[in-house]
Symmetry: C2
Subunit: 344 residues, 2 copies
């Protein structure tokens, strides 16, 4: 059995010929209109499809009806475990509904984001999930005008009308500060990446400051730094905080998983004892139980977030759901207390 070189895929026409029927009938068979065909024809078509190992060409299908069966997803940082967890849930949900996911990583670069958005449009994706890196409002508006539903993931864009799904950021900060207070900490350093262009970062930062003003038992500071590896600036900042003159005991609150990682590295380098100095991070990471006495975290319900995202999208795809006003879906964080917030 010699394999023919470049045996081009069979088409609906070949199936029709093989079965001795018309293209139309085959198309109907595939398009969920079997009930309109005679049993005899159904079986003949089924046989032909099997024999030729026929697979419909999604390109052609998309060209004709505008139904690409594709959902596009823009991820700001594919190496972020939180993003991947949500991505995973989204992919499953899409798949369950007959959609495939075209994933684009923007590496937090607005330029790449713009390019990728254009790309997704050119593939006529039927919906877009975007974990925005910049403010691609123009592109998104173009998509929206074209009738493509958009869901904003984790980060909102206030100048674009779209559903949004994410964490209850204010609630998370409240939960974090409540826990730290419970555990007896009195002075908190909030460490974040620069909040520009990431609404969730802004919201968390804002809420932190707000709560500080409201809760007299608590004082604190904030610092925003880019989080590369071997971060001297971060180490320096932490060092100053640790040796500063504020109230004690002190604690550090990390705005997201990436920050938690870098802060943990820096504290490690500084020889800080976790617990004595509190440490709490937003985002659960699979190693948090392993670092020192374990790092206390606020887990985001990634599965629920992913499911809600796709649910929103699918609703907008229904003829009835198109017009509804934008809706924001928020989920509460879940506290996972570990040794890093247990004072000796």
């Amino acid at each position: 059995m010699s394999s023919l070189p470049a045996a081009s895929r069979s088409t609906i026409l070949e199936v029709a010929r093989d079965a001795g029927v018309s293209k139309t009938s085959v198309s109907r068979y595939l398009g969920g209109e079997r009930h309109r065909l005679s049993i005899a024809m159904q079986t003949r078509i089924a046989t032909a499809i099997q024999r030729l190992d026929y697979r419909p060409n999604q390109m052609a299908r998309g060209l004709k009806g505008g139904r690409s069966k594709l959902v596009g997803m823009l991820v700001a940082d594919i190496r972020n475990p939180f993003s991947v967890a949500v991505l995973h849930a989204i992919e499953q949900a899409c798949r369950a509904r007959g959609f495939s996911l075209l994933v684009c990583n923007t590496d937090n670069d607005p330029d790449q984001e713009r390019d990728h958005l254009a790309l997704l449009a050119s593939y006529r994706v039927e919906g877009v999930v975007i974990n925005a890196a910049g403010r691609p409002s123009a592109q998104l508006k173009a998509l929206a005008d074209q009738g493509t539903p958009i869901v904003l993931l984790d980060r909102s864009l206030n100048d674009v009308e779209a559903d949004a799904v994410g964490l209850d950021n204010a609630g998370a900060i409240d939960m974090a500060l409540g826990h730290l207070l419970d555990r007896g900490y009195r002075h908190v350093l909030y460490v974040s990446e620069p909040p520009e262009g990431a609404s969730s970062r802004q919201l968390r930062l804002e809420r932190f400051r707000q709560r500080l003003a409201q809760v007299p038992e608590l004082t604190g500071e904030t610092t925003c730094l880019p989080m590369q590896r071997d971060n001297d600036a971060l180490r320096q900042t932490l060092h100053e905080f640790m040796s500063g003159g504020g109230p004690v005991p002190r604690a550090i609150l990390c705005a997201n998983g990436n920050v938690t990682l870098q802060v943990a590295h820096a504290l490690n380098a500084l020889g800080v004892t976790l617990g004595e100095t509190g440490l709490l991070g937003i985002d659960e990471l699979d190693w948090c139980a392993l670092a020192g006495p374990g790092i206390t975290t606020l887990a985001q319900p990634t599965e629920a977030i992913g499911q809600a995202t796709v649910a929103s999208l699918m609703q907008r795809l229904e003829p009835t759901g198109r017009q509804a006003p934008p809706r924001r879906t928020e989920y509460a964080a879940r506290l996972i207390a570990r040794g890093s917030t247990r004072r000796p």
Copy 2:
């Protein structure tokens, strides 16, 4: 400025009309044949494209020439940081060459793998990168016969002719055992996930046994377990190893990053002191420096692996490269020594 509902995207025909030229000329303009057009026409077309915000429809484009500009990637476990790192590199490389990446996660499920492979075929992807979960030989053969280049990532499939890229597994095991020997360990437990269907796991396991037979100073055991969370079986196995009667000092060698994580959790629960008992893991993870005295690892060059993968694919896409015999590209691991292999 009221936004028109569902303002359908403009087509090449509208651009042509707007510019007062023929479709063909516009098509040429976009297809990299501008040099064949008069300057006047070029500018008119450019203007029209801008004004209409025209974007070529990739679906139609792919339909005509079979050039979907899509590369499909099947990843066995999207939540594995190693896979994501390689995925990241592959995406960048594809993008640099004008291709987009259609990513499918199979969750190590051969059924999902088969489905996704069919899906990729239906989108007429021009190449496939597969980090195989099962033995989808039939599907891959169909793709290959159809002329679609395939690259096997990390895991080989011996009954399918395709390029392969991955780690030098034997070399990595040698390096690991050499390091453990250097550091004075004498008895090694090799922990792996079940190797069935993952060639790299098989190769590493085999080599471990082989080296043990060759090196008289070293004795050891192997165990293969599925790596879920809260793994009682694993904890039990490790406990027995630690309290067993073999030579000392003892060390544990983890077959991949996932194993390292679970073993670290189990050792943590058992209260084992790292270093006194050696621990070395294949795959570098970003928290390895943080667990106890730091975990020694063998890093895979994920960037190089990703680049080589795409390079292979692109070579096969050239008319000249189609016929070349399958080629295997292997990269050496890099040792990152930390406290977990430093005896007190």
